[in-house]
């Protein structure tokens, strides 16, 4: 009878049921969907991975990374260069491993930079990658850009579902672990965290590298969807900014926030960008401004706000109800 109480007492059950429904939907989707829709959903899932892994590091530590495109592009190039050498699943592992090692090296050099400087450096990293890969490609391979042999939709789709599940699960577990607490303490006050025994450098470098694994893996899967990559496509700054917008829209404070943001914006992006390019960018800008102005905590921030408002309204209603009854007796 009381819906809010029912939700709060059976929260775990409802959440579990919801997740099972989502998984059933994903598992059966290729059975009835058109090929085009499957490709749209694959790219939405790729954005989910980028947004969730970005929020896992930047959302908690407060270190604004603009580097997702660097690791995402690295994954695409891993696929481009290894597609004839290794089986696809092994390339996925390679893409993750290469991104991890690269992020570890980058992190060791740059994570002593604070605030703006870190953001600027990671921005520069993406630009640098675009140039250096193009240079190496033309010098060593004598061409710019790589054709990728397509892989059938169903395989890509199910692999991507697996990647999303792994990303969300790992992010959720890290968030609940002591590593997650350490990251959060760095976001709260890094100096205090260091003085309370948190090895802040180690935590930052490690979690930056872990989040990059998923970005690299997403890149490997994205390559055969795009069929052709060159350094401008693979290391496009769009892939850095879009996940940040998505995570901000959803709310970076939780694991499900970036998922929601990525699903909404990712769907709009893949569907509408091709059809209404100019209007889409305009609308996108307006959406971002509105989020920042009215929803600084994203969609997830709406929940407590609505609970507050709705709760108040319900109480007033119930009170009115009771008064009415009193009046009748």
């Amino acid at each position: 009878m009381d819906i809010t109480r029912f939700v709060s007492t059976h929260r775990k059950l409802l959440l579990g049921g919801f997740l099972i429904l989502v998984l059933i939907f994903l598992a059966t989707f290729p059975l009835y969907a058109r090929a085009y829709d499957i490709r749209v959903l694959i790219f939405v899932l790729i954005y989910v991975v980028l947004a969730v892994s970005w929020a896992m590091f930047s959302g908690t530590t407060g270190y604004m990374s603009l580097a997702p495109a660097a690791f995402f592009g690295l994954g695409m190039y891993a696929m481009a260069l290894l597609q004839n050498e290794l089986p696809f699943l092994l390339i996925i592992a390679m893409g993750g491993a290469v991104s991890f090692v690269f992020a570890l090296l980058v992190g060791l050099v740059t994570l002593r930079l604070k605030g703006m400087y870190f953001a600027v450096f990671t921005f520069g990293l993406v630009v640098f990658m675009t140039e250096i890969i193009q240079y190496l490609e033309t010098r060593l391979l004598g061409k710019h850009g790589q054709a990728i042999v397509p892989i059938d939709n169903e395989t890509l789709f199910y692999i991507m579902v697996g990647v999303v599940v792994a990303t969300v699960l790992v992010t959720y577990l890290i968030r609940r672990s002591r590593l997650g607490l350490a990251m959060l303490s760095i976001g709260g006050n890094e100096e205090a965290a260091e003085h309370m025994g948190v090895n802040t450098t180690m935590v930052k470098v490690l979690t930056f590298a872990i989040s990059s694994i998923f970005m690299g893996v997403a890149g490997v899967v994205a390559a055969p969807v795009l069929i052709y990559v060159n350094s401008n496509i693979a290391f496009s700054l769009y892939y850095s900014f879009l996940p940040i917008f998505m995570a901000t829209l959803g709310g970076v404070g939780t694991t499900y926030g970036p998922v929601m943001g990525a699903v909404i914006l990712g769907y709009l992006d893949t569907r509408l960008r091709a059809e209404l390019f100019n209007y889409f960018n305009l609308g996108f800008g307006v959406i971002m401004v509105l989020i920042i102005l009215f929803l600084p905590k994203g969609i997830t921030g709406l929940v407590p706000m609505l609970q507050d408002k709705l709760g108040g309204a319900m109480r007033r209603l119930r009170k009115g109800d009771r008064e009415e009854r009193h009046a009748n007796t």
Partner: protein, 245 residues
């Protein structure tokens, strides 16, 4: 027994000697007060002990082990904890989580989740904040935030606690409560080095006092010795001739 010792401790900021050739020692189980006018180098000395700043020259030893070159998180794990002059709480967490950070990471050994929770709750109870453990720390008053910092430091199981102006900005009642808290911490067997401007507090609870001025140590002794010391009086009150005119 000396728990903390400094020899020729010096810190330059560019050409300015913020702390200059200071020798000091803290005895196990005592409360040592550190006083001096603004800019005397008190907080800099704290930062040198806790590892926030590297020494320019000199040496600091904790229980005979050299602290030079160690990172703050390593020094914390050795048993030195601190609070900050401007509170540095984790504003993105509830009170209990703040203290849990200290409990989880402050000890050199691996602490289980159950032990950490127990330690954190004990520390909160000790400082009198059990009732607000689930409240976001940013919603607390300054006094309570300072207590959160103390609880967080205690959760790291320190042997030496550095308190940086715990009582700044507190009213008279709050000061006496804070004094009582510091004494109780000492009674737990934790050595305390405290920077304080509130003279009543320093004179009330510390056994010895050390005075810094322009980065140099100008006096050291028991409270009564210090309060009669000519140089100290001159620095704090101005010279007599000036005072009369």
């Amino acid at each position: 027994m000396r728990i903390l010792e400094g020899q020729g401790v010096t810190k330059f900021f560019g050409g300015l000697a913020a702390v200059s050739n200071v020798d000091f020692a803290v005895d196990q189980g005592e409360i040592l007060g550190l006083i001096g006018p603004n800019g005397a180098g008190k907080t800099t000395l704290f930062n040198l002990v806790s590892g926030a700043l590297p020494l320019s020259s000199g040496e600091i030893r904790f229980k005979g082990r050299k602290l030079n070159g160690l990172k703050p998180h390593e020094i914390c794990k050795m048993g030195v904890s601190r609070t900050f002059q401007e509170t540095k709480v984790f504003t993105n967490m509830p009170v209990l989580q703040n203290v849990l950070v200290g409990a989880f990471f402050g000890s050199p050994k691996h602490v289980s989740a159950a032990d950490a929770a127990r330690q954190a709750n004990q520390a909160l109870e000790f400082v009198g904040l059990s009732a607000v453990s689930t409240v976001p720390v940013k919603d607390l008053t300054l006094v309570s935030q300072k207590r959160v910092e103390v609880a967080r430091a205690l959760a790291t199981k320190p042997e030496l606690l550095l308190l940086d102006e715990l009582m700044a900005g507190l009213n008279a009642t709050e000061v006496s409560e804070a004094m009582e808290l510091v004494t109780r911490i000492r009674d737990k067997g934790i050595t305390i080095l405290m920077v304080e401007h509130v003279m009543k507090a320093i004179m009330g609870i510390s056994a010895r006092v050390m005075v810094l001025h322009h980065g140099e140590k100008i006096a050291e002794g028991t409270c009564s010795e210090i309060s009669c010391n000519k140089t100290v009086i001159n620095i704090y009150l101005g010279e007599e001739a000036h005072a009369g005119s």
